[in-house]
Symmetry: C2
Subunit: 184 residues, 2 copies
DNA sequence: ACAGCTATACTTACTAGACGGTATAGTTGA
DNA sequence: TCAACTATACCGTCTAGTAAGTATAGCTGT
């Protein structure tokens, strides 16, 4: 019970940190606030994450594994055609809005506190880009599709004139179409 | 001479604030650091910007007027065809990398300190999106092009697997092409 | 034509509070 | 009993903001 308790406390802390950034802004991501929201003492938080840096790293690692799992799950086994990875990437970013929000909260937490902490995200992004360029479709078009998906994140997270729901679903449709149209 | 001195000090402060965010990260954007980099005392800084909020607002206003000017300048008068605004928007974001960096430093400064300060950027973004949707080409495609441009910003600013120079210029070329291909 | 006044553009010195992190004592379940 | 975990009190540092003073240029009424 204790070790299970510990594991759930750990993820509760991570969850609370994400909620704080999302609801109150990254400037409110303080050890005291996270501990309060998670319902543990500051000492308890620091038992699980010995420093703020460790906490943010925890957020990032947690997120990367989730996103990678998600991309894998979204890969359609029936779909062996070119553009397969890109379609899964699109589904992951467009469908699971919680996940893409979490991506941004973690990214923001890193950028606001210590940009060096972005390194793990950078490495995974690099891998995704590699896969996108080798996805069987024209790499220029493939990258444009990826950038459009990333741009949507950005627009939605910062609320910078994001497309309304109708336009948004048309965009997803069109982007998926674009992964099928052109072959190399 | 004195009022000119004052004006140049003001823009020196703004410039220093941007440099700090860009080179040291947003966590180093403190009044003391900005003052030191600008070569004035903290009191001197607070004479021009009575609070940190005012400083960040100054960064944002400065940027918006620059970007709007830039989009206007990039509008080709010979080009009266559909997609004109979008082509200018693309040129502004792809060509002037200083400007797009500044966009991100200001945005980051706002987000990291007080997300409410994003409001002026939101309003201008909304206007840009309106113009993009009414630019004479299919609004779905038009928005995809805008989002791809925004995604490029994002990728380059955070160094998240941005396309290399060659791919980058191919992407610009292709996006410009896309503004001409389809008509409404 | 010059003393007195005002506005601008700063500097220096300070304060209250928030923050990350430490130290330490205690609790709890196996 | 011992490891895993939690709570509280505290510390030094950093930060935004305040307060008060200085220097100087340019008016302005007599």
């Amino acid at each position: 019970m204790n070790s299970k308790e510990s594991h759930s406390t750990r993820s509760l802390i991570l969850k609370s940190a994400n909620r704080l950034v999302l609801e109150e802004g990254v400037s409110k991501l303080t050890l005291d606030n996270v501990a309060r929201l998670a319902g543990v003492s500051k000492g308890g938080l620091l038992y699980h994450f010995p420093s703020k840096k460790a906490l943010i790293l925890g957020m990032i690692e947690n997120l990367i594994s989730k996103f990678n799992d998600n991309v894998k799950v979204n890969i359609d086994d029936q779909d062996n055609k070119s553009g397969q990875f890109l379609r899964s990437y699109l589904k992951s970013t467009f469908t699971d809005s919680n996940l893409s929000k979490e991506m941004n909260t973690s990214l923001l937490a890193a950028v606001a506190n210590n940009p060096a902490l972005l390194e793990p995200i950078r490495q995974h992004y690099y891998q995704w880009q590699q896969q996108i360029e080798k996805d069987g479709i024209d790499p220029i078009l493939a990258t444009i599709i990826r950038l459009a998906a990333d741009g949507l994140w950005y627009a939605e997270f910062f609320d910078l004139a994001p497309p309304n729901n109708q336009l948004r679903s048309h965009i997803l449709e069109r982007l998926l179409q674009m992964t099928k149209k052109e072959t190399m």
